[in-house]
């Protein structure tokens, strides 16, 4: 089965209230089910809200059917596949920004955010731990990959998903919009859309992205879900403002057709890249600028 109806949620959350956000998830799941969605994607930290700071340990969960927040989501994943994002506490009490892919009442894949922005307005690295693995995974529709916000501000995670076979990359954000100019959109929103389109084009893959809406303290979270196809064309987008669903029918077989025309993955010399990386990282002074001689 290569066809799927993908639904992306642009939603607001209650900051630090998992129970209230679970109720919102179940509501969105009902709406998406009515519209016959196969996969429903929630934005980054959909179960908790974004600007958590010292609330991190209070809202942390395990993606397990016995967890009170996850139980109803596991159950709902028998109807349609779900991608939800939350704060995960591991058995050693380390906290991650995570995303779970649930399907048929089971956890199919767990992604832990590997890049935690800790600069400017961001302070994630202060409160959370860094994930260390990027993997694509198989679903009933095809091979997928999950990334969370800053993960795709770096080129390496999408590159790794590409090499690991992802035909559909799903990106989730809680991206504070910033950069007012004379343009119609804030600078950060323009940038995100541009890189999403670039990844779809360079990696000849589907790239779907959804983003939180609403305000938290000084921050406005900008929404605007988008889906780009393997030719880099915009095939769907969510509302410019506010909450809403972005629904699109995808045929993952388009990946094959695009890649026959444009065999970038076939010709990618990953082994050579690795050797180059080993070389670059192994050479003193080639990665970090060399200290000048005293």
């Amino acid at each position: 089965m290569t066809h799927c109806r993908l639904a992306l949620v642009q939603m607001d959350t209650v900051l630090g209230d998992v129970e209230a956000n679970l109720a919102r998830h179940l509501n969105w799941i009902e709406q998406a089910s009515e519209q016959r969605a196969d996969i429903l994607v929630f934005p980054e930290l959909s179960l908790t809200g974004y600007r958590l700071m010292d609330l991190v340990p209070d809202v942390a969960r395990q993606p397990h059917p016995d967890d009170p927040a996850f139980g109803p989501l596991f159950e709902a994943s028998r109807q349609l596949d779900l991608v939800v994002s939350f704060v995960e506490e591991d058995p050693r009490h380390r906290y991650y920004v995570s995303a779970a892919y649930l399907s048929g009442g089971e956890l199919v894949h767990l992604h832990r955010k590997v890049y935690l922005p800790t600069y400017g307005l961001f302070e994630e690295g202060r409160f959370l731990d860094w994930g260390d693995q990027i993997r694509a995974f198989d679903t009933r529709f095809g091979r997928l990959g999950l990334l969370i916000c800053e993960d795709f501000w770096h080129v390496s995670p999408p590159y790794l998903l590409w090499l690991d076979g992802a035909e559909l990359m799903i990106f989730m954000s809680a991206s504070p919009s910033r950069g007012l100019s004379q343009a119609d959109q804030l600078g950060s929103a323009v940038w995100v859309e541009r890189v999403n389109q670039t990844y779809a084009s360079l990696f000849t893959t589907f790239v779907a992205h959804t983003n939180r809406v609403g305000y938290e303290d000084s921050l406005r979270l900008g929404g605007r879900a988008t889906v780009f196809d393997p030719d880099g064309e915009l095939v769907a987008s969510g509302p410019q403002e506010g909450e809403g669903l972005c629904l699109v029918e995808l045929d993952l077989a388009q990946v094959r057709r695009t890649r026959l025309r444009l065999p970038l993955l076939r010709d990618e010399r990953a082994d050579w890249v690795r050797r180059q990386l080993d070389h670059i990282l192994g050479e003193p002074g080639s990665w970090q600028p060399e200290e000048p001689d005293a």
Partner: protein, 281 residues
């Protein structure tokens, strides 16, 4: 504006429709999160409070906004009239509270008060009136200070700087003028020289010693574009002006942060007891 630095003006140009959308959303959402539907604004007759007032009215509806005019006996009658233009045009709720009786006893008690002390007392008296009206009207006090003022510390601590939320604070004065024009703020308010009207003949630019156009260009490069002072000189700014502005930003930084609390325990408010303002909302 023309001259070698005019290129910066293009960078300071904003899309006012987008700014309006973000800021009205901010007002409606943040007040809603705290359980409020109403706002209280001290309306001076100047451009900043006019913008905060109009944005509040657009976000919440004019009946949910209380504009409070707080003249002192020496205040310019023009200020009162200009505030009236905004109230009338947008159909905002209005209250006028003369602060003369509130502050004159203190002025009588300390006859040697210079005009800066007197100005600060008036600004703080207005804060008392606004916070009282906040309780009476069940609305939150809207901040009106712009980014230029905040960075220069051209504000009275716990006076005009006191507020629940501030929609204006990330717009330089010259950007705020663009938004004001787009919102339809009456022309006399936009055209007149900015003034805190704390004493007769006071103007911001007279007191600061430079114009908002000049300083906004410099602050934009220093703060937003992360130019070094040397980069600013290379761009064509006068060295003494750059030094003067930097010294002012540094000297007034205490106005932009909460007072430090001396750390004794393992967890200290403001140091490592860190929660979002919107906690649980």
């Amino acid at each position: 504006m023309t001259g070698p630095l005019a290129w910066i003006d293009a960078r300071l140009a904003i899309n006012p429709e987008l700014a309006d959308r973000v800021l009205t959303g901010f007002i409606g959402n943040e007040l809603g999160r705290y359980g409020f539907e109403r706002a209280v604004v001290g309306l001076s007759g100047g451009i900043d409070s006019a913008v905060a007032c109009i944005l509040s009215a657009r976000a919440l509806g004019p009946k949910n906004v209380l504009a409070v005019r707080m003249p002192y006996r020496t205040s310019s009658p023009e200020s009162l009239e200009h505030a009236g233009l905004v109230i009338e045009k947008w159909g905002i709720q209005e209250l006028t509270v003369d602060i003369t009786d509130l502050v004159d006893p203190l002025f009588d008690r300390f006859q040697d008060m210079d005009q800066v002390r007197r100005g600060n007392v008036m600004a703080r008296a207005r804060m008392i009136v606004l916070y009282d009206q906040s309780a009476a009207f069940r609305g939150l006090v809207m901040g009106t200070g712009n980014k230029t003022e905040l960075l220069l510390g051209y504000t009275t601590l716990y006076g005009d700087s006191a507020c629940a939320i501030n929609p204006n604070g990330d717009l330089y004065k010259t950007q705020l003028r663009q938004l004001a024009a787009w919102l339809g703020v009456p022309a006399p308010i936009i055209a007149k020289p900015p003034s805190a009207d704390l004493w007769q003949g006071q103007t911001d630019e007279g007191e600061l010693g430079f114009t908002y156009e000049q300083v906004d260009r410099l602050l934009y490069l220093l703060v937003d574009e992360r130019y070094t002072p040397e980069d600013c000189l290379a761009a064509g700014f006068d060295e003494s002006f750059v030094r003067q502005v930097l010294a002012r930003v540094r000297a007034t930084h205490y106005k932009r942060v909460l007072p430090p609390i001396a750390k004794l325990s393992n967890r200290t408010v403001g140091v490592d007891f860190l929660y979002p303002r919107d906690w649980g909302t």
